[in-house]
Amino acid sequence: MSVKLVSEVGVGTIAAGVAKAHADVVLISGYDGGTGSSPQTSITHAGLPWELGLAETHQTLVLNNLRSRIAVETDGQLKTGRDVIMAALLGAEEFGFATAPLVASGCIMMRVCHLNTCPVGVASQDPRLRARFAGKPEHIVNFMTFVATEVRELMAQLGFRTVEEMVGRTDRLEAQRAVTHWKAKGLDFSKILYSPDVGPEVGRFCSIKQDHGLDKSLDLTTLLGLAQPAIDRGEKVIAELPIKNVNRVVGTITSYEITKKLGAKGLPEDTIRFRFKGSAGQSFGAFVTRGMTLSIEGDANDYFGKGLSGGKLIVHPPANAGFKAEDNIIIGNVALYGATAGEIYVNGRAGERFAVRNSGVTAVVEGVGDHGCEYMTGGRVVVLGPTGRNFAAGMSGGIAYVLDQTGKFAEQANVSMVGLEKVESKAEIAELRAIIEHHVGYTGSARGKQVLAAFETFVPQFVKVFPKDYKRMLGCIEKAESQGLTGEEAIMAAFEENARDLSRVGGN
């Protein structure tokens, strides 16, 4: 687990927190990197040199006896072996290179990574430009070999045998006296070159592995054992278990074992069914794969279904709950962040940032907070209740159906990239109905039942949130298919046609 921090005043304190939170690596990122598509302001006016942040981080971690259990990495225009040596002496044992190897493989820093016009084919989807890419892995191997050679030579000069020996040895650095520029007069390097006065018992480089407490997780103590027959032999597994909010990331390790054994295809639907009772902790069902169905009678915390990869998640309140499910938030913020496939059924409302960056999950929920479906690129989201503001901001794909009974949804939606339409085609109405029927089937949702009972009258109240680019792209694919192209070919033809369309709003 690596945490990237911007080199800034105070970064040491944050790094200490990161170390206490069991991160394996903290990366101190300097100010003068950035991709060619970053705005000029970000490239030139954000952050500080890595030297400053790195020195502060290393000193803070040593002073608090945290350095021995976290690796410190640094990056930001490292280019030579000398840079590596400097970084090591200031306190890093890992080093990130990006620009230099990219240049070694052909990047000419055109700063048009975002325009699809990279003339050397490094950062372009255009097949004509990609054909111009002349880089080879050997070029990077060659470059890194040069860097490593220089590191070795300088280490020999300094008398170090290993990188670990070098970490934080600021006593081997001295300020360059030859710098005669008048601005250099006021520079005081003593704070950067300070070495904390601590005893030999305090580690100065990463020597202890972080204890992530994975063996105490619900997956390793209980779920994986229960699921073993399913993983080994494909047997159906059903279990009912209590859950508490200290149980974080439930289902993920089990899912990992399934994927390790069976690959992305996972298990047949509903092979493993775990029913939990209680309040689930953060990241419930994160990255859960196909064949796993996790349901909660209770509620769930933030990051519900993060990165969901084919599994099915269900939440509903207990039967004897004294509140109306559709009026209350039952899962926390940022549910389904970056999810790629699967289904979720939420008998209640979700917090903010629901289904942000969702690219393939079908979800039913009975209300969402602000920024719902932001940056969504695929999948279907059905909202059977109110939404917060800024719905569908930057949404470029997938479709959301919002039941808008008050007629106020249009005010809440961010329509810069989406159109608001009615649900009209028969097939689409049938599909929407089927999704809600599943929802009722899994959760017993009162709201769902109410909608289904008078479905014909509710259909006109559904607003179809349809991204403009997505709509045009679907049209192009249909056109390509009518011309006889299939599958990937049809998609590529549509992509090519769409890439040159001036009405395109996304991806510019």
């Binding site: 000419i108 055109m110 700063r111 048009v112 016009t117 003339p119 050397v120 002349a134």
Partner: protein, 494 residues
Amino acid sequence: MGKPTGFIEYLRELPLDRSPLERTKDWKEFHVHMEDKKLRNQGARCMNCGVPFCHTGKLVSGMASGCPINNLIPEWNDLVYRGLWKEALDRLHKTNNFPEFTGRVCPAPCEGSCVLGINNPAVTIKNIEAAITDRGWEEGWVFADQPKVRTGKKVAVIGSGPAGLSCAEQLNKAGHTVTVFERADRPGGLLMYGIPNMKLDKKEVVLRRIKLMEDSGIKFICNATVGDNVEPQIFLKEYDATVFCTGATQPRDLPIEGRNLKGVHFAMELLTANTKAVLNGGAEHCPIHAKDKDVIVIGGGDTGTDCVGTSMRHGCKSIVQIEILPKPPLERTADNPWPEWPKTYKMDYGQEEAAAKFGADPRVYLTTVKKFNGDLAGNLQSIVTVEIKWEKNEKGQFIPKEQAGTEKVRPAQLVLLAMGFLGPEQALIKEIGLETDTRSNIKAEHENYTTSIKGVFAAGDCRRGQSLVVWAINEGRGAARECDRYLMGSTDLP
């Protein structure tokens, strides 16, 4: 950058020159203008690079890479694409005093370092430059501009080649009273008598600019040979500062048997005499004439090409151009990567004309001359050439080694020596007492230009050794800046 995808959509395209057989019948320029729409598309090919090289003007492996006067190329390419010709001209004049010269005669190191050139034909920077400036002259956007305030300082510029002219114009802009001394009968130096008319028209281009400079208040004194009819000491006495822009006019000789035969000339003898004759009534009066002669040009550079083009127009019987180096490759070799000057095979206008008439490129490579044969009257009859091979000597230097048995007698009644220049003529330098460097050039640092004598500056080929017009403009501008700083204590000149 008006059009991010321009370089993908449009191919490199240059205007077709006048056809070789037609243009050799006269002395008019062979360059033809391109239509507006096409020029704009060519401008759209510029990629407005994140890290451009076209304007850098650095020596890479000893050759110019990028524009030595740092022309703001991506900016005016974009302005041309957008059809803003006047703005493009203003942007061009910011860095270049004489784009109508460089747009015609510059070998375009900018195009050699054009980023697009990594994997595609470079942007047609030179042609766009020529189009902008020609358009400006046609529209009347280029006019004489007298400085508003005169400083009262007098500056002498010796030599009116590209360095002298750019220096004089910059100094005049700063308000100094400038006098340019030129020993030839017309000002312009190599622009006037070195480069032939078909490449750079004398009346329509060079003298047009000189006239404008005179109208801006610069005084030209021709037929003024310092040390002969001009007393050298007047510069130190009567002028507040003097800038030497005398060029590197000492040609490299070939002291072999028969060098003194009638018919063996330096290239400049022919080119000067010819241009003079063309301007004075007709090339047929040129005292050195190639008509019906077997002509051999020794030297494969631009001057050699100009000799070929001139001989073709005289109506030579045959022509051979001898080059001591091997034939360059068609594509860059691995040791000549972008953004270095591309050492690749190019067919220039002279060779094109010879090929059109005689059927083949007149150049022979890896060949040198052993001796000149003459008749009893001392007239050149033929030359003996020999093939060579470049071999390393014990010091590791490449030296040419003659290949026995490859001697060849070639008929020749006219031989032109175009083997480069050794440096400035020394007489005046000695007389004034300027220090020189190991290569016999006037000793002065680039970007500083001060010589061993206070108030005397040196710029262009006399300081740098033979080089490009564009380096001369760079030096002339720089020397003007330093001269202004010397005279006024500070300077606003770029």
